[in-house]
Symmetry: C2
Subunit: 214 residues, 2 copies
DNA sequence: TTGGCTGTTGAGCGATCACTCAAATCGGAT
DNA sequence: ATCCGATTTGAGTGATCGCTCAACAGCCAA
């Protein structure tokens, strides 16, 4: 009996929780992600963010605390998506090595189609972070490590499935795979023509496929 | 007879030309190179430069015109040194492939020893350059292209020397070599431990050596 | 010495930076 | 209709940005 009253009591707060905000946090974060990814941390000003997020400075600070904190949120968002892609790849049925190889091909194709090609945001953040924003660099490194761990897990699973010999070292293969991916995306950023970009990815992909013992 | 007078006439100007400047241009440029390389274009302020160059703003502008122009000078300096290393490599006696492979090993060792590891300045500049400084990006790309051309010339010479089969494509080999070098130096910047860094370079180097037909 | 030219100085310019806060605005409960 | 509290607003904060320039210092010829 007092249950009903309790619900009535908390209803306003529940409603408030789902009350439509004047801005959509996800949309705003995506806009910030796109902007920061394209321009980098230092070159992006609050004015730029105001335009991209369609929010006034006060609202931005109420919602995200600071430019620094917003960048961290955005970076985490980027990381979660990147790792998500890899997790999906590992949990997919079929040979793991094939999935890893195809991922390289897919990234190259995606970049080739994208008119605004841009290298990995984690790498860019790491390269950009100076002593003044040491935390940004540390975060980016941490995320890159987590992604490498994800790749290593994939190679390890491939090894369990007999797609690799016991002598091959998943940690080292993951290291090389990530280096290749980084290089591939930097070449995309550089503006390498589509054919060469896809050929480069193909070369890397075949090296992954060639790991399989026959 | 009028020759002597001419010399006497121009002597002041000749002396002025070699007159010791209050600052040493080469030293100043090296200091700027080090600073810009470490902090990047956007994160480096005039105050930082004043400190590093030991020059007041007026002198900096008298000598280098602007922060932008100074960065361009410094970038060219960096490029010339990088290309110089490769040119030396190509003109050295002995097998070219061996030289290219050893260069990868040497870079890894150099980075491992360097406490302030830093990725290639041209790559960093390219990744950092926004629409506002499109020229910086274009310059960096141009320099990277020139370096790739240098690598390609090395592979081509190796091919002429019979170190490569006729079927192998120097352009593509150069592309991959440069990608590997980029990735290697980014891993160095990332803070990859010395052993792993050197192992990564070794793997890349052996792939170059394996190109040789036997 | 003196005059003249070169190169240095550093206070200070307007613009822009990240950021704040008092006032206006809005949705929902009464 | 009226009020309340949450949210948005945007002019404005001090700090710092890249950069300028009138005044000054040092050197050499005369």
């Amino acid at each position: 009996m007092c249950g009903a009253r309790d619900i009535r009591l908390f209803l306003p707060y529940l409603l408030r929780m789902i009350r439509a905000r004047p801005y959509d946090r996800d949309v705003a974060l995506d806009a910030a992600l796109s902007l920061f990814w394209r321009k980098g941390y230092h070159a992006t000003s609050l004015k730029d963010l105001e335009g991209a997020l369609q929010m006034k400075p006060g609202s931005i600070y109420a919602a995200f605390d600071s430019k620094h904190a917003l960048y961290l949120s955005v970076l985490e968002r980027y990381f979660l998506r990147s790792r998500g892609e890899l997790k999906a790849l590992r949990e997919r049925p079929g040979p793991i090595l094939q999935g890893l190889a195809d991922h390289l091909r897919a990234v190259a194709r995606r970049e080739a189609d994208d008119p605004a090609r841009s290298a990995c945001m984690l790498v860019r953040t790491m390269l950009d972070a100076t002593a003044g924003e040491a935390e940004l660099g540390a975060r980016a490194r941490g995320y890159l490590d987590a992604i490498r761990a994800e790749i290593e897990a994939a190679f390890r699973k491939a090894q369990e499935n007999g797609e690799l010999t016991k002598a091959q070292d998943p940690a080292r293969l993951a290291q090389r795979y990530q280096s290749n991916m980084t290089a591939l995306r930097i070449e995309a950023h550089r503006g390498l023509d589509d054919a060469a970009l896809i050929a480069l990815a193909e070369e890397m992909a075949q090296e992954v496929e060639a790991l399989r013992p026959n």
